[in-house]
């Protein structure tokens, strides 16, 4: 569900949709263990899925990875990893923050 939400959020709001989804997820699942990890994994799955769907449509994602990687002076595969890690960070940290804020309200008298 997190993955689907991240994918939808990205499609609707762009990359900023991911921390939004992560934050909301954290607020909802504020007592859940490893909420940050779950959000991160969800974001990775979402973005990997989006990249995969481009590949499935015939888009040459590998060419982009190689050439943009060359522009940024990193291997193309690393660019893919950086992309997914970026999404994971956005979602995971936002989820933890959301949970923390929700928890703070819950603790308030």
């Amino acid at each position: 569900m997190v993955a689907l939400a991240c994918a939808a959020g990205t499609a609707w709001l762009g990359w900023v949709g991911v921390p939004c989804v992560g934050f909301v997820y954290g607020m909802l699942e504020w007592r859940m263990a490893a909420r940050g990890t779950a959000a991160s994994v969800g974001a990775v799955i979402a973005w990997a899925g989006l990249l995969g769907s481009e590949l499935a449509r015939g888009a040459d994602v590998r060419v982009v990875a190689t050439q943009i990687g060359a522009v940024m002076q990193v291997p193309g595969a690393l660019l893919v990893v950086v992309t997914l890690v970026f999404g994971a960070l956005l979602a995971g940290t936002a989820a933890v923050l959301g949970a923390g804020i929700r928890g703070a309200f819950a603790r308030s008298p």
Binding site: G14, V61, Q67, T83, L90, T93, R102, R107
Partner: protein, 869 residues
């Protein structure tokens, strides 16, 4: 309480634990839904704070550029970022859309080479569609070239581009474009097609989603700017800057500053010493040497030194090299009597800076009964520049005319002049404030430009100098291209272009289906007062020094159906000195070697075929080598005959003598010759050095002229005290030095390192100089002075090659060093490059109707329908 071993209750934020006994199925109390096996308390404040910091940092990286990197968010977004460009690398096979203002449906068929064939019902619609397809394929190129022409790159990349932005503004280019635009009749042909073209570009931009922005916009973290009709004029001004700026003035002055006027005028003559003019000369069966005695270097001219300093902006990065004559081109046409098929043949290859995407964009425009033209356009300018219609084909080479003059102005205040003196009367200086902005729109620099009636002023070394330049004059090149595309024979073509085309002056060659061939050097050539050459700075305080007009068209260098049955131009002097109406330019802006070679080939060929025309475009032979190699070998023999046996000289001469004088990829001797020629220039022109750097280089034609004067004091290398060298001494010294250099850099002669394909490359850079988007290190056949020239950094070369057969049905062949698409991820980005590299031309489709382009040869379609939304 469940026995968990830990106390808990309200306010206790320690982790809750499951019951120690009984578990969930046991006898303990029913578990709270929040106190499940996986539930925990919310993160501790410290963890939350760390998460907030980490999120803030990630968001910062996502929103703000870090160093050279654009904001990562927009870049890495899998839907809208660079990954989306993978999906747009190949346009959809079939698209239906609309352009506001469209009068009727337009059918665009892309052929197998990615060339759009545009079939419209009105000419304005065809230009609307042209704007649309150019935007679709070359949007970023449109923008960056316009910004370069208007001095607005800082708005894209920041203050680092300030120097580049100041140049066109200091030359008055944006102002001139505004004046030209204002002078156009809003209902005239030029304005209407420029406006229609703009409509097409903006229709594409307006419907573009961020995910579909070209990759360059994402890397630069910006968005496309809407197109203005005037931008087409900015781009044509930029072409003028490329091909018609400078002139021999500054080189002559720099030379005079070092060796005196007489010697400088000898080595920078007005007329080329080896004459092979564009206009055939009755009775001439080959080139003529018009060698004169070259005056010996004399005392420096201090006045010239001061004036030369005013031309600092025209000093190239390497004024000492032969390569600054790189903007060169070839064209030739053969009359039916000399062709195998009995039809006129035309070939053209303009040499410009090689870029990806290419400076040209191929297109075919059809409006039944009105227009049917194929050729290359400049992205941003409506109209085919080089190409053919059903009756006429045409192509250009640069004339190299001197159309820029300078005037030393007398002003009322050296620091902040408001008036300048002409004929004893003060005239008001017009000012214009130029503001340079950064990416945020903030003003980062301001200049006040000043103008006299002649043109923009500059201030150097306490002097105010104004400039008169035909590129800034009101002209209408777009009308010229429009009229040319409607021409029905060579006469109509030449008339149409002469009417409206002012700059940069071009040698316009045409051939038609009746078998006629014609050429005219077309552009506005100024008439200077008192027969002056324009090679020096005029005194601006007298209006008698202003231009008195322009050459009449019938005095332009021109020829129609010459008796010799062919015409050829390759940037040589257009006419013999005796034939010229007035001063046209100087030897420094001409080049003779390619002209010599193509005339050689044409003179001996009476059965010319399309294949030979194509083959000649990459002919590896060199008349320059034919002339200079024997001199080197002779010098080596002379040393031997004088008993001065030098082993290295013998070796070098033996190696050079083995060369067939062809710049083929696998030859292993051209590198020795080229290095020897560089050494020869260095040793010969040592008098033209200042602070260890050569400031002006005479042409190799002048060097050939000097070869006929073995005792000239120019040969003496002043750096060798107590020794006075002659010609053969310098030749021998150059050859030995070359051998040492090449051996040191490349190893033994036959070790492989001397192969030409390891020496000479074409380098085709992306517009932003991004190596990953560039094609670098392409081995080429050709070198300095060959018909497919390549030298220096390899960034100049044939930017388009075309051959046209003017038979009952036009047949044509062409290729670009790149492809139609400006998207680096597109298979059409550089798909034509392999043909260009091999010297092969591809057949060009020229259907009369959309139906004539079968589906099997159509790679995509685009329908522009006024009813579509």
């Amino acid at each position: 309480m469940p026995d968990t071993g830990k106390a808990f209750g309200p306010g206790d934020d320690r982790n809750q634990e499951v019951p120690a006994k009984g578990g969930f199925g046991g006898s303990g109390p029913r578990p709270n839904r929040y106190l499940t096996a996986t539930s925990t308390m919310p993160p501790k404040p410290l963890v939350t704070t760390l998460a907030a910091v980490a999120l803030a940092a990630t968001l910062y990286a996502g929103l703000r550029p870090i160093g050279p990197l654009p904001p990562l968010g927009g870049l890495l977004d899998p839907v809208n970022g660079v990954w989306a460009n993978a999906g747009t690398s190949v346009p959809a096979a079939s698209v239906v859309t609309n352009i506001p203002g469209l009068e009727g449906p337009v059918d665009v068929r892309y052929d197998a080479r990615g060339v759009p064939h545009i079939f419209a019902t009105s000419e304005e619609d065809v230009y609307r569609a042209l704007g649309y397809v150019v935007a679709r394929d070359r949007l970023f190129q449109l923008e960056i070239q316009t910004r370069a022409a208007t001095g607005r790159l800082t708005e894209l990349v920041g203050g680092q581009a300030l120097g580049a932005d100041e140049a066109p503004r200091a030359l008055g280019m944006p102002r001139a474009a505004e004046q030209k635009f204002a002078a156009l009749n809003p209902r005239g042909v030029s304005r209407r097609i420029m406006d229609a073209y703009a409509d097409g570009i903006n229709a594409y931009i307006d419907n573009l989603k961020p995910k579909d922005y070209p990759i360059e916009y994402k890397l630069l973290n910006t968005r496309p700017e809407r197109w203005r009709s005037i931008n087409s004029l900015h781009l044509l001004n930029q072409m003028g800057l490329t091909l018609a700026a400078g002139g021999p003035d500054h080189e002559l002055l720099r030379a005079a500053a070092l060796v005196g006027d007489s010697a400088a005028e000898s080595v920078f003559p007005v007329h080329t010493p080896i004459q092979e003019p564009i206009q055939p000369v009755p009775g001439w069966t080959g080139p003529h040497d018009q060698f004169k005695q070259i005056a010996a270097p004399g005392a420096p001219d201090t006045a010239a030194a001061r004036v030369a300093s005013l031309f600092k902006r025209f000093e190239g990065d390497d004024p000492g090299a032969e390569t600054h004559r790189s903007y060169a081109s070839n064209n030739w046409a053969v009359a039916p009597a000399r062709t195998k098929n009995g039809y006129a043949l035309l070939a053209g290859d303009p040499h410009l800076q090689l870029t990806l995407p290419s400076i040209w964009y191929e297109v075919h425009l059809v409006v039944p009964g009105k227009l049917d033209v194929y050729g290359v356009t400049i992205p941003g300018s409506p109209g085919v520049v080089i190409g053919f219609n059903r009756d006429v084909s045409w192509t250009f080479t640069n004339t190299g005319a001197d159309v820029m003059d300078f005037y030393r102005e007398t002003v009322d205040d050296t620091l902040n002049p408001e008036r300048y003196l002409v004929d004893g009367e003060w005239r008001k200086i017009v000012t214009r404030v130029e503001q340079y902005r950064d990416r945020s729109g903030a003003v980062i620099h301001t200049d006040t430009m000043r103008y006299t009636h002649r043109g923009p002023m500059t201030h150097d070394h306490g002097e105010w100098v104004s400039m008169r330049w035909t590129v800034l004059d009101p002209s209408n090149e777009i009308r010229a291209f429009y009229d040319a595309s409607h021409a029905r024979d060579v006469n109509e073509f030449e008339t149409a272009t002469a009417r409206s085309f002012w700059a940069p002056a071009q040698n316009m060659l045409a051939a038609d289906r009746t078998g006629s061939i014609a050429i005219r050097s077309t552009g506005h050539f100024p008439i200077r007062p008192h027969g002056e050459t324009g090679q020096f700075i005029f005194d601006g305080s007298s209006s008698a020094n202003d231009w008195t007009g322009y050459w009449p068209v019938d005095k332009y260098p021109q020829s129609v159906n010459p008796a010799q049955g062919f015409l050829a131009s390759a940037n040589q002097e257009p006419e013999t000195p005796e034939s010229q109406f007035g001063y046209l330019g100087g030897d420094a802006d001409y080049e003779v070697w390619r002209a010599l070679r193509i005339n050689q080939l044409l003179r001996k060929s009476t059965n010319v075929t399309v294949d030979s025309m194509i083959r000649w475009q990459t002919d590896p032979s060199s008349v320059r080598a034919d002339i200079f190699v024997p001199y080197f070998l002779s010098a080596a023999r002379n040393e031997d005959s004088l008993g001065r046996h030098v082993a290295d000289l013998d070796s070098a001469a033996t190696l050079l003598g083995q060369w067939d004088r062809k710049y083929t990829r696998d030859n292993t001797r051209a590198v020795l010759f080229e290095t020897a020629m560089q050494q020869l220039s260095d040793f010969t022109w040592d008098e033209l050095q200042r602070d260890g750097k050569r400031v002006a280089t005479p042409s190799t034609a002048v060097l050939a002229e000097l070869m006929s004067q073995p005792a000239s004091s120019w040969w003496d290398d002043r750096r060798t005290k107590g020794v006075v060298e002659g010609r053969d001494d310098i030749l021998a010294k150059s050859l030995v030095a070359a051998l040492h250099i090449v051996q040191k850099e490349r190893g033994a002669p036959d070790s492989g390192g001397w192969r030409w394909d390891r020496v000479r490359f074409a380098n085709i850079y992306h517009l932003l100089q991004i190596p990953a988007f560039s094609e670098l290190g392409i081995p080429v056949q050709g070198g300095v002075g060959t018909l497919a020239p390549s030298s220096g950094s390899g960034i100049f070369g044939p930017s388009w090659r075309m051959v046209v057969e003017m038979g009952p049905e036009i047949r044509a062949w062409g290729t670009l060093p790149g492809g139609q698409s400006g998207n680096p991820f597109s298979p059409r980005y550089a798909d034509h490059l392999r043909f260009w590299e091999s010297g092969t031309l591809q057949p060009l489709k020229f259907p009369r109707t959309a139906a004539e382009l079968p589906a099997s040869e159509t790679s995509a379609t685009l329908e522009l329908d006024p009813r579509s939304r």
